[in-house]
């Protein structure tokens, strides 16, 4: 590459280096060290960090809850987003208004949205009172916040499908259901796959909404894995080594899941 090319690439490379590579290396180093929040590095502590992270009494409940939450959120969110996208696909006066109103919640930060719902829910006693209700109340918030965003992604995919394909299907006598099943869905696959990757990754890293709405309660039933990382680091254990070990485990799982998903995406696209 010539010098001009390097100049163009440098800002991005710097950005990636400072905000991605360096932190990952540091978390990696922490994860193998006995590293207290206040005390700093006190030498190598491997594999004790990893075994003690897995031995935490809340580890398996957190894994199970995170998986459950990811599945529930992804299914509901993508189903709803697809429905909304189909609803506002045609361009006219009303769909412009609808599109905007579905998208507006996406302009709010997730933490702000969580606080908004916290205020709303505090007038409905008991809505966060049982494990089931706490989960569904949070799913409600997340769907409200993100449905518009995924609708937009799917809408772009929908509008990328040429009108001639639909016309050909109509000439062949396909009804609406057949058109959806055999034209829309297959051609929308790349967009759907992208949404799934984003949604699964986001849900597995869920933190803000539970941190604000439920604090992991009631009775530790809504603790996600990232919340557990936070608790280990700042919730009195003040053990950055153990927290970093758990972060590394989450990172590995995410990598594996994403590899599988990208493979699926490539095969069919």
């Amino acid at each position: 590459m010539n010098r001009g090319g390097w100049a163009y690439a440098t800002p991005t490379a710097l950005f990636v280096g400072v905000f991605f590579v360096v932190p990952i290396l540091l978390v990696g180093r922490m994860s193998i060290s006995d590293w207290g929040l206040f005390a700093g590095d006190r030498g190598v502590n491997v594999p004790a960090n990893f075994t003690s992270a897995i031995d935490d009494r809340l580890f398996w409940p957190a894994v199970w809850f995170t998986v459950k939450y990811t599945v529930v959120t992804t299914v509901i969110l993508l189903g709803l987003a697809l429905g909304l996208a189909l609803l506002v696909q045609e361009s006219n006066r009303w769909t412009g208004f609808l599109r905007t109103s579905f998208l507006v919640p996406g302009a709010l930060g997730l933490a702000s949205a969580s606080l908004l719902f916290y205020a709303l829910y505090s007038h409905l006693p008991g809505i966060l009172g049982t494990p089931g209700r706490a989960l569904w109340s949070t799913v409600g918030l997340v769907v409200w916040r993100f449905a518009g965003f995924y609708m937009l992604l799917l809408l772009v995919g929908l509008q990328g499908i040429g009108g001639d394909v639909y016309e050909a299907a109509r000439l062949d006598g396909a009804d609406r259901r057949q058109t959806f099943r055999h034209i829309t869905l297959p051609l929308l696959r790349p967009s759907l796959a992208l949404c799934t990757i984003l949604c699964v990754t986001g849900s597995m890293l869920a933190f803000d909404q539970f941190y604000i709405l439920t604090k992991g309660g009631p009775d530790n039933s809504t603790i996600t894995i990232v919340q557990l990382v936070y608790t280990m680091a700042f919730g009195g254990q003040n053990d950055l080594g153990r927290a970093a070990a758990l972060s590394i485990l989450v990172l590995l799982v995410l990598l594996a899941v994403n590899i599988v998903q990208f493979r699926g995406l490539r095969e069919k696209a």
Partner: protein, 416 residues
């Protein structure tokens, strides 16, 4: 989450090693007043004490050449922020800490040794003993009281009148507490309940229930803070009282999922008869409710409070020890305690300045009132999902037979 990972990384980047006790940076001989030479000092505290912190800093800045720059941090982010700054050597000159976390933080070496300077104060032995003891590690003193936050019993005098109770007399035993809460409940007023508590909030439980155990002379932990005694008869009486109130429907339904963010709200709206409450909020609550104030009673009488609030010290990173000490010396002086704190209806931190007519000052001086001491306090009690939260939720809502094993789980964390 990205910000938090960055904070973790920043901590990692420049983590400092802790060392033995050292005094703050000093340029001349150590004096009782410190130095007032127009330096700028930084001070961090957490949001619940904003009112008092602002009043104190404003009064200090008006009367001194030194100028204190105050930073208020949201309660839930405070530990993380201090941790990141401690790692990178960027702690402010002065910072406050929830007094129950202080033993952990002094052990980690975040504060400078103030023993010599505190010894020079003429009123050194009059400063609130609970806070000073919590800030003493291996015989060295690191922390002075910043703002005292005591738990006391609040009752709504109007609701007491309606329920035919004496509005000037709060509960003096746990059974009276139960009876008075139920009397208010029996009014059957819409949205009005006998009592309230932070049913999913470990810190609230510590703050409001521990005094009920202390009042009868019992304790919640052994002296070293390594073993939980929360399965004793006095503690069981406390749990039974709340369980019966819950069964009788006298606790507001929002209690069960109260994480602590709004646990003081319902009383201020006039919807609660009687409940243990932070004394610092008396000025706020008095705006909307005719409040009765008394000590938190034990099973068979007595009265106690949780000597909570924040301690304050000079950080290990401060280069302005003499100037920072000037603020601390002023903070414990009569000028600050009487003209700022007492005038603002906060509790004074010196026994010789206490007002004998003030029920809050009285209970602060009661021999049963304490600041509990444990290095792993936060993890055992305050943290979301702590074993203490599991324990008291089982006692009120779940299976009370789990007490012994739940108590062992608290001990397991304390003794770690």
């Amino acid at each position: 989450m990205r910000i938090r990972i960055a904070a973790l990384a920043a901590t990692a980047l420049l983590a400092a090693c802790s060392s033995g006790p050292t005094g703050p940076a000093s340029t001349g001989p150590v004096t009782a007043e410190g130095t007032d030479d127009g330096s700028e000092l930084t001070l961090w505290t957490r949001a619940p004490l904003e009112l008092q912190a602002n009043a104190l800093v404003e009064a200090y800045n008006k009367a001194h050449k030194n100028q204190v720059k105050l930073t208020i941090v949201p309660n839930d982010d405070y530990v993380a922020k201090v941790g990141a700054a401690a790692g990178s050597g960027d702690l402010p000159d002065l910072f406050a800490a929830d007094i129950v976390y202080v033993p952990n933080w002094t052990k980690a070496g975040l504060f400078s040794d103030l023993s010599e300077r505190i010894g020079l104060l003429p009123y050194a032995d009059k400063i609130n003993k609970g806070h000073v003891d919590a800030g003493t590690y291996e015989g060295r003193k690191y922390v002075l009281p910043f703002v005292l936050d005591l738990s006391v019993m609040f009752w709504n005098k109007d609701l007491y009148r309606e329920a035919g109770l004496d509005p000037e007399k709060g509960p003096t035993t746990l059974d009276e507490f139960k009876a008075q809460a139920q009397a208010v409940q029996r009014l059957g007023k819409p949205d009005t309940y006998g009592t309230y508590f932070g049913g999913n909030c470990g810190g609230c439980g510590v703050f409001t229930w521990f005094p009920m155990i202390w009042a009868g002379g019992d304790d919640v932990m052994n002296e070293d803070g390594t073993e939980s005694l929360l399965d004793g008869p006095a503690a069981q009486k406390v749990y039974a009282t709340w369980r019966e109130l819950q069964a009788a429907g006298a606790i507001a339904p929002g209690s069960k999922d109260e994480t602590g963010a709004t646990w003081v709200a319902a009383f201020q709206e006039g919807k609660i008869g009687v409940m243990p409450y932070p004394a610092t909020l008396l000025p706020t609550a008095s705006k909307t409710v005719d409040v009765g104030v008394g000590p938190i009673p034990g099973a068979t009488g007595g009265g106690a409070t949780f000597l909570g609030g924040d301690g304050i010290g000079i950080s290990k990173d401060s280069a302005k020890g003499d100037q920072a000490w000037n603020f601390l010396a002023w903070l414990t002086s009569e000028a600050a305690q009487k003209d700022v704190l007492a005038a603002g209806k906060s509790t004074v931190a010196r026994t010789d300045l206490a007002d004998p007519a003030n029920p809050v000052d009285q209970v602060a001086a009661a021999p049963q009132s304490r600041t509990p001491f444990a290095v792993n306090f936060q993890q055992a009690f305050n943290a979301p999902g702590s074993p203490w939260v599991t324990l008291f939720r089982n006692q009120v809502y779940g299976d009370p037979a789990a007490l012994e094993s739940d108590n062992d789980a608290v001990t397991a964390v304390l003794g770690r």
